[in-house]
């Protein structure tokens, strides 16, 4: 269903109002809903932190999705699913969607680095990284591969970098 206000984008906000006993239904796209004052996730609801989060994440949903949707390999969650529920599906989701979760995490906590107790499983895996950080690391590895004239390995790394950059552009 298209937005009843602009007629351009898919309607994602559905409002039912009862006025003088008659039910009126309105369907709006995120932009128009925001514009018309229906974007405030808190109005009419009890304040809750998960509401807060889906409010934050919801801001970042594109009006129409471009290209194939990235899904978490472990639980099958898309970023859309996470934003709507305000809940993350599994630990792997944090690795898959770290770039896009990071701004919300920062807005909620003000900080982005853990300072408390360290679990025993720390150090078992590589730290979570943004794709920018991953790319920077790979570039260093690629330069090193070129330096030792391992061009096969350098080409592999180049492809990996391209893939990461491509994901960024798609989303």
């Amino acid at each position: 269903m298209l937005c009843q206000n602009c007629g351009k984008y898919e309607a994602t906000t559905h409002i039912k109002q009862i006025i003088n006993g008659d039910m009126a239904e309105t369907h709006l796209c995120p932009d128009c809903a925001n514009h018309l004052g229906y974007g405030d996730m808190f109005s009419g609801f009890d304040f809750s932190l998960s509401g807060l989060l889906s409010g934050f994440l919801g801001d970042m949903l594109p009006p129409v999705s471009l290209g194939p949707v990235t899904r978490c390999e472990k639980c099958g969650c898309s970023f859309d699913d996470i934003a709507r529920a305000g809940k993350v599906g599994c630990p792997e989701c944090y690795r898959t969607f770290y770039d896009r979760l990071l701004p919300s995490i920062q807005r909620i906590h003000g900080k982005i680095s853990h300072a408390g107790k360290t679990g025993q499983s720390a150090g078992n895996r590589e730290k979570i990284e943004t794709s920018g950080e991953k790319i920077a690391k790979l570039r260093v590895q690629m330069d090193e591969a070129v330096r030792v004239q391992n061009f096969e390995r350098a080409a592999e790394i180049r492809d990996e970098i391209k893939k990461l950059e491509g994901e960024n552009i798609n989303e």
């Binding site: 009890d46 932190l49 998960s50 807060l52 989060l53 472990k74 639980c75 099958g76 969650c77 529920a85 305000g86 809940k87 993350v88 599906g89 599994c90 630990p91 944090y94 979760l101 919300s104 995490i105 909620i108 906590h109 003000g110 900080k111 982005i112 680095s113 853990h114 300072a115 408390g116 107790k117 360290t118 679990g119 025993q120 499983s121 720390a122 150090g123 895996r125 730290k127 979570i128 990284e129």
Partner: protein, 336 residues
């Protein structure tokens, strides 16, 4: 065995209890919201095995679906489980210590919600127990943890320490002089939140509030606990000076004695009326006007909640019978 809330705690005139809650997830499993029945059963088994191996026999396991709705609500009234957990979905379980001071919700929002309750203000003691239990479990279970974002939780608002520290406060004087909203605004700027512990969010019952830390990432457990403690100490002092002012008001003194009179003599008491009156009596007791130990009042507040009365008095099967039973129990408790 007597329950933790019947004990006398520090700062007990104002502070009813302290709770530390840690959220943990097991690395190999998706979070409960996306976990199927078999997965939840496996998580239950893993956690159960880990707890019984490391913490001995003072715990028992309950499969939540074996509980009646009333039994579950009664656990929530005693703050042993969260209100959300009372839906008793299949695959949810509870591990609880004999005195109910330590409990573990399995497959609530996260695989593990470990909580420790203590009477009075006891943040450091409660955290110590939670921390030790958590470390013991960490040896048996592989937690989802990342050095950058800390303990991975289903809700990103819990990332980092995944610790929620709460203190339950009785603030009748500050409520009477209309200070609670101003306090709520101030504490929210300090990364804390405050709300009613009983009743609805808009109209807290019995002037009892829960204050907790909100920020969990980028802060150590010790700092979060110390921050909360310092704010709670300020609230205790504010409540005390407000109480000293308020108690001089003859109308309030009258209200306290009248409330005691009703509670000592009523033959029918519903939960709302009880909460309103017991708050005045507790106010009188903590201000030194009435000679009733506050821990007895605390235990009474917990025991007189609707589902708890219903569960522990099965013969009282109608509302009227329960109200009569509540009145009887209150009379007995106040008579000592």
């Amino acid at each position: 065995m007597s329950k933790w809330y019947a004990e006398k705690g520090s700062q007990s005139e104002t502070v009813i209890s302290t709770r530390i809650r840690l959220a943990r997830n097991i690395d190999d499993f998706v979070f409960p919201c996306r976990l199927d029945k078999e997965g939840k059963a496996k998580v239950n088994e893993l956690v159960k095995k880990a707890v019984f191996e490391c913490c001995g026999d003072k715990y028992s396991y309950i499969s939540m679906k074996d509980l009646s709705h009333l039994q579950a609500v009664s656990l929530a009234e005693r703050h042993v489980i969260s209100p959300e957990f009372t839906s008793c979905e299949e695959g949810t379980g509870l591990i609880i210590s004999d005195d109910e001071s330590v409990s573990i919700m399995i497959c609530e929002e996260d695989h593990i919600r470990l909580q420790v309750m203590k009477s009075g203000l006891a943040l450091d003691e409660a955290y110590k127990i939670a921390d030790e239990t958590d470390s013991a479990l960490d040896e048996k279970l592989s937690y989802a943890f990342d050095e950058r974002i800390g303990y991975m939780t289903s809700d990103p608002t819990n990332l980092g320490t995944a610790m929620r520290a709460s203190v339950f406060l009785h603030l009748p004087a500050l409520t009477a002089c209309g200070q609670i909203n101003a306090i709520a605004n101030t504490v929210s700027k300090l990364g804390l939140s405050i709300g009613g512990a009983y009743g609805s969010r808009k109209k807290p019952a019995g002037d009892i509030y829960q204050i907790s830390n909100r920020i969990t990432l980028g802060i150590t457990e010790e700092t979060a606990v110390a921050n909360l403690k310092s704010i709670v100490m300020q609230l205790i002092n504010q409540e005390r000076s407000a109480a000293e002012r308020e108690i001089k008001n003859p109308a309030l003194e009258d209200k306290i004695y009248r409330s005691l009179g009703v509670l000592e003599n009523a033959r029918m008491l519903n939960a709302d009326e009880f909460m309103e009156l017991i708050s005045y009596v507790r106010f009188g007791a903590s201000a030194g006007l009435l000679d009733i130990p506050v821990e007895r009042i605390n235990a009474l507040i917990t025991d007189m909640q609707p589902a708890t009365v219903a569960v522990s008095n099965e013969d009282a099967d109608t509302v009227a019978k329960r109200d009569a039973r509540r009145a009887e129990l209150v009379r007995q408790a106040l008579a000592g």
